[in-house]
C-alpha cells in the first residue's frame, strides 16, 4: 500500500508539472493582460511600459524559466489586479468552494443512493417513474436559472431567505441547492441503473434463493456491488464542482475559487490562474486517490498495478 502511494504521488507530481507547463503556455495564447487591464484609450507607450514592468515583453521561454525558478522557492507570483500573492488569494478562496462542494456532494449522494435504490427495486413502478422524472429534470435545468428564480421566489417574493452573501447558515441554502441539483439528478440515475443490474445478478439471486428474506441484507449486498460506477461518476461530479461553483459563486457573491478563476481568466491574470489550477489539481489528484482506494475497498479483486 505504501509503495502504491509513493508511486501514485510521483505520477501525480509529474502530471502536475505537465499541467503547469500546459496552462502557462496555453493561457498566454489567449492574449495579453496589458490590453485588458489598462483602459481602451491607453496610449501605446504606456502599454509598452506596463508590459515591460511585468515582464510580458520577454520571450516566452524566459518568462517560463523565471516562473519555474520562483516556483521552486514556493513563490507563485502576484496578482496583476491587486498585487496580492496569487497563492494567498487562492488559498483564501478555496475553503469556501470546498465547503460548498462538500455539502452539495453529501446531499446529492445521500438522496441519490436512497432514491436510486428504491427506484431500482421495482423498475417501471410508480416510485421509479416519479423519481426518474424529477431526477432527470434536475439534471437538465440550467443552474443559473435555479439561482435567479430562487432569489426571485424565496428572497423577493416570500422574503424567507437572504438574497446573497455569506454569514448565516441561511445564506448557504440557495448556493448549495444550485450546486447539488444537477449531480443529484445524474447520480440518482446511475445508482438506479447499476442497482437494477446488481439486483438481477446471480450473486443476489443466489442469496434470495438461499432464503435470505431480509430486504435490508439483499440491498446491502447489491449496493456494494452497484457502488463501483457510482463512485466513479460521483468522483467526476465532485471534480467538476469548481466549474459548477462558478455560477453559484457569481450569482450569490460567494468568494470562492470558481469566481476567482473566472475573473482571473477574463483578465488574463496568469499568476492567479496558474495558482488556482494547481491548487484545484492537487485537490482533484487527492480525490482520485480516494476514489481508487474506494474501488479497492468495494471490490477486493481490483488490484493496482
Amino acid at each position: 500500500m505504501r509503495s502504491y502511494f509513493r508511486q501514485r504521488t510521483m505520477q501525480s507530481a509529474i502530471s502536475l508539472f505537465g499541467l503547469v507547463v500546459l496552462v502557462f503556455f496555453l493561457a498566454r495564447l489567449t492574449g495579453n493582460p496589458t490590453d485588458l487591464l489598462l483602459p481602451v484609450d491607453t496610449p501605446l507607450a504606456v502599454r509598452e511600459e506596463f508590459a515591460a514592468r511585468h515582464g510580458f515583453d520577454q520571450p516566452m521561454l524566459v518568462q517560463f524559466g523565471r516562473y519555474l525558478l520562483d516556483l521552486l522557492q514556493f513563490d507563485f507570483g502576484e496578482s496583476l489586479r491587486d498585487g496580492r500573492p496569487a497563492l494567498q488569494m487562492v488559498l483564501q478562496a478555496f475553503p469556501t468552494t470546498l465547503l460548498l462542494s462538500f455539502w452539495a456532494m453529501l446531499i446529492s449522494l445521500v438522496i441519490a443512493i436512497v432514491t436510486g435504490s428504491i427506484a431500482a427495486w421495482r423498475p417501471g413502478g410508480v416510485f421509479d417513474r416519479i423519481a426518474s422524472l424529477i431526477s432527470l429534470a434536475g439534471a437538465s435545468i440550467p443552474n443559473f436559472w435555479i439561482a435567479i428564480v430562487g432569489v426571485l421566489v424565496f428572497s423577493v417574493w416570500l422574503r424567507a431567505l437572504p438574497t446573497s452573501g455569506t454569514g448565516t447558515p441561511w445564506h448557504w441554502i440557495m448556493p448549495v441547492t444550485v450546486l447539488f441539483v444537477r449531480p443529484c439528478g445524474v447520480l440518482t440515475q446511475v445508482v438506479r441503473s447499476s442497482m437494477i443490474d446488481a439486483l438481477a445478478s446471480p450473486y443476489v439471486k443466489t442469496a434470495r434463493a438461499r432464503g435470505v428474506r431480509s430486504r435490508v441484507v439483499i440491498f446491502g449486498h447489491a449496493l456494494r456491488n452497484a457502488m463501483l460506477p457510482v463512485v466513479t461518476v460521483a468522483g467526476d461530479q465532485a471534480a467538476g464542482m469548481v466549474n459548477g461553483a462558478v455560477i453559484a459563486e457569481t450569482v450569490f457573491g460567494f468568494p470562492g475559487i470558481g469566481k476567482l478563476m473566472i475573473d482571473s481568466i477574463m483578465f488574463r491574470d496568469f499568476a492567479v490562474i496558474q495558482a488556482a489550477v494547481m491548487v484545484t489539481a492537487v485537490a482533484i489528484f487527492v480525490l482520485n486517490i480516494l476514489i481508487d482506494l474506494a474501488y479497492a475497498l468495494l471490490d477486493p479483486r481490483v488490484r493496482h498495478g
Binding site: 493561457a27 440550467p142 440515475q189 461518476v233
Partner: protein, 307 residues
C-alpha cells in the same frame, strides 16, 4: 453489469417480428412512447424546421418586444411569446433545434468514442500505457474548461465545430474513467478468464466479452451527458464563448433570456423546457431500450404485452 455468463443464450426473436414486437413493447410503456414521439418531433424540427420557417425566426419587430405567451392576436407563431427583439420564440425553438442537436449529439458521441477506447485500453492493459492515459485524464480534468474554451476561441475561431471540440474534450475523462472502472471489474470475471485460458486473442476478449458488458453503463451515462452538454453549451454561450448569433441554439436562447427572468420569464423558460424535455425523453428512451434488450429485464415489458 448484467452478468452475461452465457452471452449466446439470449433468446432472439425472428427478425420479421422484431419490429412489430418492439413497437408493441413501446406502446405498452406509455412514458417511453411519449418520449419517442417527442424525440421524433425534435428530430423532424431539426431536419425540416430551418427550411419551413427560414424568415420567421429572424424577423425582428422592435415594437413587439417581449410579447407575452398565450396571446393569439399576433398569430400562432407567437403562442409562446416573442423574444427581446420581437422574434417568434416558437420559430426560434424550431430553428434552434438543429444546431442544438448537432452540437450536443456530436460532442457526446465524440467524447463517448474517444473515452471508451482509451478506457478499454487503460482498464485492460494496465501498466505504463494505462498510467499515461489516466494521468492524462487527470490533467484534462483539472484543466479549467473555461480556459479551454477561451483558448480554442482564440487559437481557432468560434464556430460550431470548435464548440463541439471544447465540449467533447472536457467530457472525455468521464467516459474514460467509467469505462476503465467497469473493465477492471469485468476482466476478473469467470467468462473472461475462461476465454483467456481458451487462448482467445486480446481483441476478441475486449470486443466480444468486455465491450458488450460495458456498453449499458456507458449508454446510461451518455444519455445523461446529453443534458449536461446542452447546458454546458448554454454556459459557454452566456460567457460569449459559445455559438454566436445569428446562429441559434436552445442554450444560447436560455443564456440570452437570463437577464429577463424577472420581467419576461418566457424568454429563457421555453428553451429551458425544450432542453429538459429532450434530455428526459432521451433518458426514458435509453432506459426503455436497456430494459427491452436485456434478457434479464425484458419480462417487465413482455409481461404486460401478454397480459
Amino acid at each position: 453489469m448484467s452478468d452475461m455468463t452465457h452471452p449466446t443464450a439470449a433468446a432472439k426473436p425472428p427478425r420479421e417480428h422484431a419490429l412489430a414486437e418492439a413497437f408493441l413493447m413501446l406502446w405498452r410503456d406509455k412514458f417511453a412512447f411519449l418520449s419517442a414521439c417527442f424525440l421524433l418531433l425534435v428530430v423532424i424540427a431539426a431536419l425540416f424546421g430551418p427550411s419551413l420557417l427560414p424568415d420567421q425566426a429572424l424577423q425582428m419587430n422592435l415594437r413587439g418586444r417581449n410579447a407575452p405567451p398565450f396571446e393569439l392576436e399576433r398569430g400562432w407563431l407567437y403562442i409562446l411569446g416573442a423574444d427581446n427583439m420581437g422574434r417568434s420564440l416558437l420559430a426560434r425553438l424550431v430553428i434552434g433545434s438543429r444546431y442544438t442537436l448537432m452540437i450536443a449529439g456530436s460532442a457526446v458521441v465524440l467524447a463517448l468514442v474517444v473515452g471508451t477506447i482509451l478506457g478499454l485500453i487503460a482498464g485492460y492493459r494496465q501498466g505504463r500505457i494505462a498510467t499515461i492515459i489516466l494521468r492524462g485524464a487527470d490533467i484534462l480534468m483539472s484543466f479549467p474548461s473555461l480556459l479551454l474554451a477561451l483558448i480554442v476561441l482564440f487559437v481557432l475561431a468560434p464556430s460550431v465545430g470548435n464548440v463541439v471540440l471544447v465540449l467533447a474534450l472536457s467530457r472525455v475523462p468521464v467516459y474514460l474513467r467509467t469505462c476503465r472502472a467497469e473493465v477492471l471489474e469485468i476482466r476478473e470475471r469467470q467468462f473472461v478468464k475462461a476465454a483467456k485460458v481458451l487462448g482467445a486473442s486480446h481483441a476478441r476478449i475486449v470486443f466480444l466479452h468486455i465491450l458488450p458488458n460495458v456498453v449499458p453503463t456507458l449508454m446510461t451515462l451518455a444519455t445523461l451527458e446529453f443534458a449536461a452538454v446542452m447546458l454546458s453549451e448554454s454556459s459557454l454561450s452566456f460567457l460569449g464563448l459559445g455559438v454566436q448569433a445569428p446562429a441559434v441554439t436552445w442554450g444560447l436562447m436560455v443564456a440570452d433570456g437570463r437577464g429577463y427572468l424577472a420581467s419576461a420569464w418566457w424568454l429563457s423558460f421555453w428553451p429551458g423546457v425544450a432542453i429538459s424535455l429532450t434530455a428526459i425523453s432521451a433518458n426514458l428512451m435509453a432506459n426503455w431500450i436497456r430494459t427491452a434488450t436485456d434478457p434479464a429485464q425484458r419480462w417487465r415489458l413482455e409481461k404486460r404485452t401478454r397480459a
